[in-house]
Amino acid sequence: MSSDRHTLSGAYAVDALSAEEAEEFERHLEHCPACRDEVRELQQAAAQLGASEAAAPPPALRARVLAAADRLPQLPPRVTPLAVVRTRRWLPRALGAVAAVVVLVAGVAFGIHRTQQPDDHAVSGRNSRVFHAGDAETATLRTPRGTVSVATSRDLGQMAVDTRRLRTLPGHRVYQLWTVHAGTATSAGIVPPRADGKVMALPTAGTTVAITVEPAGGSVAPTGRPIVQVDPDTV
């Protein structure tokens, strides 16, 4: 984060950026939790400033607004957190069509190494059952933050993700898993700190699994681009 961008938080909070600058700053916010906190606080101060100008509107406006709302459908809750990511670049365009197992963000393709058995790195703990199932399919995926091993077992109906060789995150960040179907990401839970990884139900066909880095406790929607995305069908 450049300090120059950081100082835009004040101008952003009072809507003093051009549309282009505001958009760029919002993209920056997606990756800067500290900036989001600051913006939230500055917006609150600005809101108090605004409220200090309070003046009662003409009484007739009330009925007009209520009547208009009555005719206006409401938006459903956001279950398309991809809008937060603001780019569909990481959507699995090529998945299914290509043998590639991994679609990595920003259009960078990373090498992938397939194995029928867990590789030299011994898999233990919660992940082991899936990795050692008779019908286990496994893959090792390189990501910008280290490698991830993935195993699927149709017999068990489970998918296991071994995250031990991903870079250790600072205490306030966690890895979070998502199932992504038709452009909608649904949380599959966080990888608890110090855990080996995570076992989840085997996603249905056409659903991919993505991993993002989120604030501790996880997010309701991805706040950043996935470090890796896997189509379990191709594992």
Partner: protein
């Protein structure tokens, strides 16, 4: 003035705006009415301050509440208080209205000097309107440049580039003054609570 042992309580608790927005999110029209009653003065007052024309401020107020109605289910408490969310929408809508229709006027105002701006919209007028004591007191803690920067952006709808031109200061200075001015306001208001 209370008797010893007695406690003054408000006649009725002000409604919890976060709670109301949660109910609006599930289509509760009554909650929407209560929300309007609670926030319409703040929204309308801000809109009128920014767009100047009361009739247009009414339109902006309507737009704001309709956006709140539409998007209530998407309000994320993790991102702040509902009251702030509504006021942020209100400010954005008001500023959009100003930028849309007054770009011509704005271009002309680029030419005016700082002293003319000061005469047109003296700080005293703003402060006189700050009958909410806390905000007024806290604004007094800002430096003149912080106050001018925040005020011209927030109440006049200028971009920081325009504010820099008006005040004849470098862009980075204005950016920084907006930020540290708001930080000072935030800290002062927090201390007040």
């Amino acid at each position: 003035v209370a008797e010893p042992g007695l406690r003054l309580v408000p006649a009725h608790e002000p409604p919890d705006v976060d709670h109301l927005v949660g109910r609006v999110a599930v289509g509760d029209a009554h909650a929407f009415e209560l929300l309007y009653d609670e926030l319409s003065s703040a929204v309308f007052g801000l809109a009128r301050r920014v767009v100047r024309d009361p009739a247009r401020a009414e339109d902006v107020t309507q737009e704001v509440f309709l956006e709140v109605w539409r998007k209530a289910a998407r309000f994320d408490r993790a991102l702040g208080r509902a009251r702030t969310w509504v006021m942020t929408i209100a400010h954005r809508r008001a500023v959009d209205a100003v930028r849309r229709s007054e770009s011509q006027r704005r271009q002309e105002e680029h030419q005016v000097t700082v002293s003319e701006v000061g005469r047109d919209e003296p700080v005293d007028t703003v402060l006189e309107a700050e009958e909410r004591g806390a905000v007024r007191q806290c604004l007094d803690t800002l430096t003149e440049l912080q106050l001018e920067s925040v005020r011209l952006a927030y109440f006049n709808g200028y971009t920081y580039t325009e504010v820099a031109a008006l005040l004849e200061k470098p862009l980075p200075t204005i950016k920084t003054r907006m930020r540290d001015g708001l930080i000072r306001l935030r800290d002062c208001l927090e201390g007040d609570r």
